[in-house]
């Protein structure tokens, strides 16, 4: 009975599409979550130009595109920089919440103007929500609770619905394609914001509404528009009105609907029967949760580099423990070891009642980059992996700075040429000929150490005797000029040292040790 009633409410053919456009006209301001209660004039700027103004600023004469100084002189307004990331986040959050109404959600962002919105295809879910009007009222109620101001457009095409959102008309639920087209034809061509040049050209030739364009198409076919204003513009017009081009198999050329994929987050929790006060007792629950995470990641072909543990007690105190890994992992073993390393280094802040594992950032495994090498055997790859895991564990224990590699940097001064790099970075091993033949020590001191001079002899942990040299190194004449004469010296215990005489300061220093 209910089904029959709902079917009666659905006026549309099963194969026709219906689009609902939600245009968030105050999003640049609302995304910043500013306090607008004091009724001040406010403008949002981008590249020092006004892109949004509130009513007070508009009343004071501020218009779109004027520079921020003029706007402030006109209205004494507050100015805020536009934050596109925040706007995108609002749209992503709204999309996730609107997913309860339809699985087909697209985001619209205008290239030239600060117009953003969401486009919802609703023809497939009319039966579920008892018709267009009830669905629309549900969506409206939801958006009003979200406190974002919006305008609604309704049409048989997504672009048409977007344009109609600029001229809101009450939605009855029995609109036909012809009615939508009639409404669209009355719209001014200035609403085609994505094509400013084409609109300008059309205005110069006397076009004012979309009807003028459709009339032209009726008289001379779409190819005339295509020829004069480009393929993209003619395609946009076809998309707005759903003009069928002469195609033999129309179904094949239908644009497929974009299915919205909600962001998945792994979060699992274990409640303990009794409060846990020792680290060791957490090992098994941690392993269990990580195994579940591993299953989740492998089923979706994902890998993660960052997980978060939340320890809570009965008094709602919580403690966060974040674990980072150098490489993206879908197996649990490394994450388990890294977690234990972090846990071993600290005591539990309270008696733990529940343990939660969160993994918010996971990337597809296919995006992982691998070195293209045909010589690598399976064994060597496994070896590299085992080494990577060891390094990740050591980094978790000792810190990133404690593990490094060396690389040659093209410089004359030894301390500058010895570069310390992260283990993931590639080394430069190209040594110029000038250094290839010179005698160099195996160890280089972090900074040259001053040598004591006593009775015309040199002393550094023993008496030094010069064996060979000098090799003159001059460098950084543009900054603080450095000139050094390097010698090989022998200490009383026969250790060979690399020492230099600073030619400017006339002081001797030890710089390296032959070992």
């Amino acid at each position: 009975m209910t089904f029959r009633n709902t079917y009666r409410n659905n006026w549309y053919r099963p194969d026709s599409r219906l689009w609902l456009a939600l245009r968030f006209n105050h999003l640049p301001l609302e995304a910043l979550a500013l306090d607008n209660s004091e009724n001040n004039a406010m403008v949002i700027i981008e590249k020092q130009r006004v892109i949004y103004m509130n009513e007070l600023a508009y009343a004071a004469g501020v218009r779109f595109g004027i520079d921020v100084t003029t706007a402030q002189l006109l209205s004494n307004c507050e100015s805020h920089e536009r934050d596109k990331n925040k706007e995108m986040k609002v749209l992503a959050d709204l999309s996730a919440q609107l997913y309860q109404f339809t699985p087909y959600i697209e985001t619209y962002i205008c290239q030239y103007l600060p117009h953003t919105g969401l486009l919802l295809e609703i023809s497939t879910c009319l039966k579920l929500f008892s018709g267009t009007t009830s669905l629309l009222s549900l969506i409206t109620r939801f958006l009003q609770s979200a406190a974002y101001s919006f305008e609604v457009g309704f049409a048989h095409t997504s672009k048409g619905a977007w344009l109609l959102s600029f001229q809101p008309i009450e939605i009855v639920g029995n609109e036909t394609k012809e009615l939508f087209c009639e409404r669209l034809k009355k719209l001014p061509i200035q609403l085609l914001h994505d094509f400013p040049r084409e609109v300008d050209a059309l205005q110069k030739t006397g076009f004012s509404t979309l009807e003028d364009i459709t009339r032209q198409i009726d008289a001379q076919k779409i190819s005339a528009i295509k020829k004069r204003l480009g393929v993209q513009f003619s395609q946009a017009i076809c998309d707005i009105f759903s003009i069928e081009q002469n195609l033999q198999q129309k179904k094949l050329f239908d644009t497929p609907l974009t299915t919205y994929k909600p962001v998945e987050v792994f979060s699992e929790n274990i409640q303990f029967d009794y409060p846990i006060s020792q680290n060791d007792q957490l090992h098994y629950p941690i392993e269990h949760l990580l195994q579940n995470l591993s299953q989740y990641l492998r089923k979706r072909q994902l890998a993660c580099q960052h997980i978060e543990w939340k320890l809570s007690d009965i008094h709602r105190n919580s403690f966060l423990l974040t674990v980072h890994s150098d490489s993206a992992e879908s197996h649990w073993e490394l994450l388990y070891d890294l977690t234990l390393i972090q846990l071993d280094n600290r005591e539990l802040p309270f008696e733990v009642d529940s343990l939660t594992l969160n993994c918010r950032d996971a990337n597809p495994v296919q995006n992982k980059s691998h070195a293209l090498s045909f010589n690598h055997t399976r064994q060597s790859r496994a070896g590299t992996r085992s080494f990577t895991i060891t390094m990740a564990k050591l980094k978790a224990r000792l810190g990133d700075a404690a593990i490094f590699k060396l690389s040659y940097r093209d410089a004359l001064l030894p301390e500058i040429s010895n570069a310390v790099i992260a283990i993931n970075e590639p080394c430069n091993q190209h040594l110029p000929d000038i250094h290839k033949k010179a005698l160099r020590p195996c160890w280089l001191l972090a900074a040259p150490v001053l040598i004591e001079e006593r009775k015309q002899s040199l002393y550094w942990r023993g008496k030094l005797t010069l064996l060979a040299g000098p090799e003159r190194i001059r460098s950084t004449w543009w900054d603080t000029a450095k000139a050094r004469d390097y010698f090989i010296a022998q200490r009383h215990d026969n250790v060979r040292l690399w020492i230099f005489l600073d030619l400017h300061k006339k002081t001797w220093h030890v710089h390296g040790i032959f070992g």
Binding site: S417, R440, W443
Partner: protein, 254 residues
């Protein structure tokens, strides 16, 4: 009713004899058979299995700091294909010297630690890593106890790499479970290597003398410059070469 059996479980003698750590009279069977060429034939001759023992702990006691670690181990480091890890080195290696020696910088990783606990944890972790073929570790300032050294030794048994622990000369007097222990000391003309413990070798091995690199000897003193035999002039005694001889200046009588 007593459910636990009072009789001891039967132990198969064969199973026991299969264990490598049970002494069976032939002491050499206890020692790891794998080894890597040290690059010095005179040293290989005194080492059991003709090279540095792998899968075990090698302890090098140094007289003073920086006693020819690279000179001793660079032939091994150059040949290995896996990673070479320097744990707690006394200074930073100079990349120019390593490139000159033909050592691939991509495979050298340096790990610095602050305390003994971190050193032990890192040593055990690295020694167990399959792709870490050479581990050169320098003892931290705090002395390692026998138990801690034993822990290191057990970790090295799990992998096929060469694990070397550098310790000060004073450690020579302390007991250590390392399979091979030696003292290294640089002299004026050579490098002295004294092996004072080698598992399964009861009599003391003869000390080994390794030559110093030519460049380290420096220039000859002034009075010896005359004795250099230049290429193409071999066979001419310095006394016959008038032009090459250095005659001290004498004040002549007027």
């Amino acid at each position: 009713m007593n459910l636990t059996s009072t009789e001891p479980a039967e132990i198969d003698l064969e199973q026991l004899l299969n264990r490598p750590d049970i002494w069976r009279g032939d002491s050499r069977s206890l020692v790891a058979r794998t080894s890597v060429d040290s690059g010095y034939p005179e040293l290989n001759a005194v080492l059991l299995n003709g090279g540095w023992p792998t899968q075990t702990l090698v302890e090098v006691c140094q007289k003073g700091l920086h006693q020819q670690e690279w000179l001793l181990f660079s032939p091994v480091v150059t040949k290995t294909a896996g990673y070479i890890v320097l744990l707690n080195p006394p200074a930073i290696p100079f990349c120019q010297s390593l490139i000159q020696a033909g050592i691939d910088l991509e495979r050298i990783v340096i790990v610095q630690v602050c305390n003994k606990a971190d050193f032990l944890a890192s040593f055990v972790e690295l020694a167990r890593t399959e792709s870490c073929e050479v581990l050169l570790a320098w003892q931290p300032q705090q002395l390692l106890s026998y138990t801690e050294l034993r822990k290191c030794l057990l970790a090295t048994n799990e992998n096929n790499g060469l694990c070397v622990l550098f310790r000060p000369e004073s450690a020579q007097q302390e007991a250590s479970p390392a399979t091979l222990r030696l003292l290294i000391e640089i002299r004026s003309k050579d490098v002295y290597l004294g092996i004072f413990k080698q598992k399964s070798v009861l009599q003391d091995s003869a000390p080994v003398s390794l030559p110093l690199p030519k460049a380290w000897k420096g220039f000859l003193p002034y009075h010896l410059l005359d004795q250099i035999t230049l290429p193409g002039q071999s066979g001419i005694s310095p006394t016959k070469r008038k032009s090459g001889s250095v005659v001290p200046l004498r004040r002549g009588k007027r």
